[in-house]
Amino acid sequence: MGAFRVIPCLDVDQGWVVKGVRFQQLQAMDRPVVLAQRYRNEGADELVILDVSASVEGRLAQRATVAAVAEVLDIPLTVGGGVRGVDDALELLAAGADKVAVNTAAVADPSILERLAQCVGRQAVVLAIDARRREGGWEVVTHGGRRPTGRDALAWAREGVERGAGEILLTSVDQDGTGAGFDNALLAAVRQVVSVPIIASGGGTRVEDFVEAFRAGADAGLAASIFHRQQTTVNQLKQRLAAYGVPVRWEEAWMAQG
């Protein structure tokens, strides 16, 4: 198996990186390009940009932001926010994204996953699932966690992969922004039903959180504020993961960047 990936996430609103608690109370932080370059130099394995207000406002993620980041970035870039169809996906790929994440639109019309996979290949299609705990399992929610859908998260993950998703970005809305660790039960449950890579998202703060996500079956761990606020650098986190026996991509030279 490959290395466990560490993925900083840039939640972008109007060209600025923001980070809220439980998807609400957005705070302005920094310019995406500045952070993208810093994380690349620190040994990030991939970068995710989510345009957090795109779906809510019914528009596509800002092409200018994607293009500006792609200009300086030479690691894989996933972009999500407002992707409603194949044309939107092509526009983001043309702007420099390597993969597109689709969430709200896929819940509304799951066949978008088949069309995307046929057009750009499943390796470029990421299904973003926002899940919230409920009696006996997890429910899919959309619109930044504001709207329940009634869908069971495990059934949706399985269906999404059957339809064409090549990867799942799995966010626990309960854990997101709390710093209380990933929802490892959710990760383990989804791992049981799909074989594509799973990116753990929501609540990861300490190195132990990432270790537990790896043990629960995640292929990657995504986090935002711990990196933005410089509680840890990407290379420090990866060095400590390696000490726990988690296989990570690691180069000594990165420590000079810390």
Binding site: G2, A3, D45, D74, G166, A253
Partner: protein, 199 residues
Amino acid sequence: MTVTVVDLQVGNIPNVVRAFTRLGCQVRVTAQPEEVRASRVLVLPGVGAAPAAVASLARDGLGGAVQEAVGAGAWLLGICLGHQLLFEELWEFGRHRGLGLLAGVVAPLPEGVRSPHMGWAKIHALRADFASLHGRWFYFVHSFVALPQVTDLVAVADHDGHEICAVVRRQRVIGVQFHPEKSGPEGEAFLREFCEMVA
């Protein structure tokens, strides 16, 4: 130095162009056979399905121009699908004829390993052609893999317990299954070494 990127209209061109531009190269993107024929350093990128790329090579004699340039002493770097096109045949949705610059075929990843192979893998160099390769991590995205002649094999990568072809070279023809333009500082170091080699 001028690098000519052969445009097969199968994606990924801007990232490759940016990577060489960052290294100070002049980059020309072309689908014109006469420009390809006149080039000293060629890069053949590619993402996606083999049939479309093979069709692009056949169109307007672009593949023939690449073969002629190499015959006349040009350097050629194939990346991912571009690397697979260097071989004789690609077994993907049928059998397709490649450029035949390297002996061997391209086949699906072995039974029982994860496909597509997406992610970072560590390189084990079998030869010392490139100092920037051994023990470093590079980014892969592919479902098919080259089965080269062993004398052309420069480096392998570990994927799901299998050693897969990562880098090949025969004289001035070099192929890499990974994406150096997406492999961060290590990818940049590899491309720099390539540029120094061909300068």
